[in-house]
Amino acid sequence: MSDKGANISPAPPVPKLPSKEELAARRAAEGFVVPQKHEEGAEAHAEPAAAEPSVAEPSAAAAPAESAAKPAPEPAKSASPAAEPSKEPAKPAAAPAPKPAAAPAPKPAAAGAAGAAKPAAAAPAAAKPAPAAKPAPAAKPAAAAKPAAAAAAARPAAATATVSRRGFVSWFSIGWTAFSLASAGGLVGLLRFLFPNVLFEPPSSFKAGFPDAFGVGQVNEDFKDKFGVWLVRNEEGIYALSTTCTHLGCIPNWLATEEKFKCPCHGSGFYKTGINFEGPAPRPLERYRVALAEDGQVLVDKTRKYQQELGQWADPEALLKLT
């Protein structure tokens, strides 16, 4: 093999030495090796490919066509029995190039065999899941050794010009891949770190006492400081107003004598219902969900809010009916 590039160690020993037929088949497939289960697909691929006019004898035509399809389905070790015998006559002088176990698609090179475009397109895509990417130079001697597909020989030779098999997965690329993955992981961890899992804030739902404690027409401020909620009772029932001004988020004050909520920041004014009527507030105060707890107390649930301008005050959970 003509390896160039700064490789540190010599070629590792081939783990499982395949048989000569196996090597020949593989070379015919230009280094394509894929899992066995796609074998049915191999025949299907072979059909259209076999129809293509190829070079030399029909067996030779079938061979490159099938071998081109082969990359898609073929696993590392066993070539399909149908392909093997046809490949052997087609590739007499395939000198076994030293080749590690799996050599998936060195792209169009191998699959380009004999103009079998469709299998060619399928092969690289299917060969991707194949293990241990070692393309190109396997293709090169293989292509050179392939007498049957002359056209294929030209194309692979051109396409597999630069990256050697050994150089493709080098320490360099392993190192950079590991570094990038570690950096990406670190960045994700950093971002996640900024979102605390535990909040030391008052709970978002609370019980506000029994309904009888609220007088009709009154605004209850007992829960304003701790929970940010006003509880108001009208003839129909009880509703919970958010104490967040809809202008820019300050906390308004309830002015009982003037029967309005007035925000100290910019002067937004709201009626007892929460409707805005003066100042820069663009919309009414929001209401929270109210319900009756099991023990009969009023339960305020701040995780759901209802906005009047969206028509949500009509929702039955926005008002606890007490008639």
Partner: protein, 260 residues
């Protein structure tokens, strides 16, 4: 006489020579050598153009900004000896820095310095624009400068919260409420509903960018601590790195304030 001899022999000694390697900067060569061999001085070029030290040319705003930044760092560190960033203590500590601590003016100096720095960086930017010092090859440095401007504003914003008074709390509430409306990343912004996994929303009031900034759903203890760390460590760290790039580029792009 004896004193002069003593001084001379001291200057010939190993202690002195190990610190001051070259002779006094009296001649041209030594002036250059002294600058080159000093880590602080070598950040400057050995020679500067005459226009580079003209106030009417440069306004000296860049240098002033850096100087004020150094003042802020020093006063800030001094403040850190007495300030505790929790809602319980923050306000009182700030009060105590004025009355219970000698030279109780650090807090004021720090605050005035912050205002001054904001003014000086804006004036610096204005000057750079008016003298055309953003044109090639200096365009990259202009961009670095804009980022530094944003960092200065962020330093002001984060520092504003630390006294933990009404002004601070509401200013940061209003300012951070803007983050709710960030596209995609804010829970009230456009496109937030698109980010979900199988119906579970990823961007809620408890998981959007405003939440990450505040460390909670509203300005509270977590926010105070977070802003403290940002103000004292994170943003100055990035700012120092970018300042190094900024000064480096001034030199490499042809020096301060020369004709194009």
């Amino acid at each position: 006489m004896a004193l002069k001899n003593a001084l001379d022999s001291f200057r010939q000694g190993q202690v002195w020579k190990s610190i001051f390697r070259h002779g006094p900067p009296t001649d041209r060569r030594n002036r250059g050598m002294v600058v080159l061999s000093n880590v602080f001085l070598h950040l400057h070029p050995i020679k500067a153009r005459r226009s580079g030290i003209k106030m009417s040319y440069t306004w000296c705003m860049g240098g002033l900004s850096f100087f004020i930044f150094l003042v802020e760092v020093v006063t800030g560190i001094l403040l850190m000896f007495y300030y505790r960033p929790t809602p319980e203590y923050a306000y009182n500590d700030i009060q105590q820095l004025g009355f219970d601590v000698p030279l109780g003016i650090m807090r004021e100096v720090h605050r005035w310095g912050a205002h001054a720095m904001v003014i000086s960086v804006w004036l610096h930017m204005f000057r750079v624009f008016m003298t055309g010092s953003y044109k090639p090859p200096r365009e990259f440095n202009w961009n670095i400068g804009v980022i530094l401007l944003v960092l200065t504003m962020l330093l002001s914003f984060t520092g504003y919260l630390l006294p933990w008074d009404q002004l601070a709390m509401w200013a940061v509430t209003v300012g951070s409420n803007m983050a709710r409306a960030t596209p995609f990343l804010g829970h009230e912004g456009p496109g937030a509903a698109l980010l979900n996994i199988g119906g579970i929303p990823l961007i809620t009031p408890a998981s959007d960018v405003r939440f990450a900034l505040l460390g909670g759903r509203f300005v509270g203890a977590a926010t105070l601590l977070r802003f403290y760390v940002l103000h004292c460590v994170a943003i100055p760290f990035i700012a120092v790195i970018l300042m190094a790039v900024h000064f480096w580029r001034v030199r490499k792009d042809g020096g301060i304030s020369g004709p194009l």
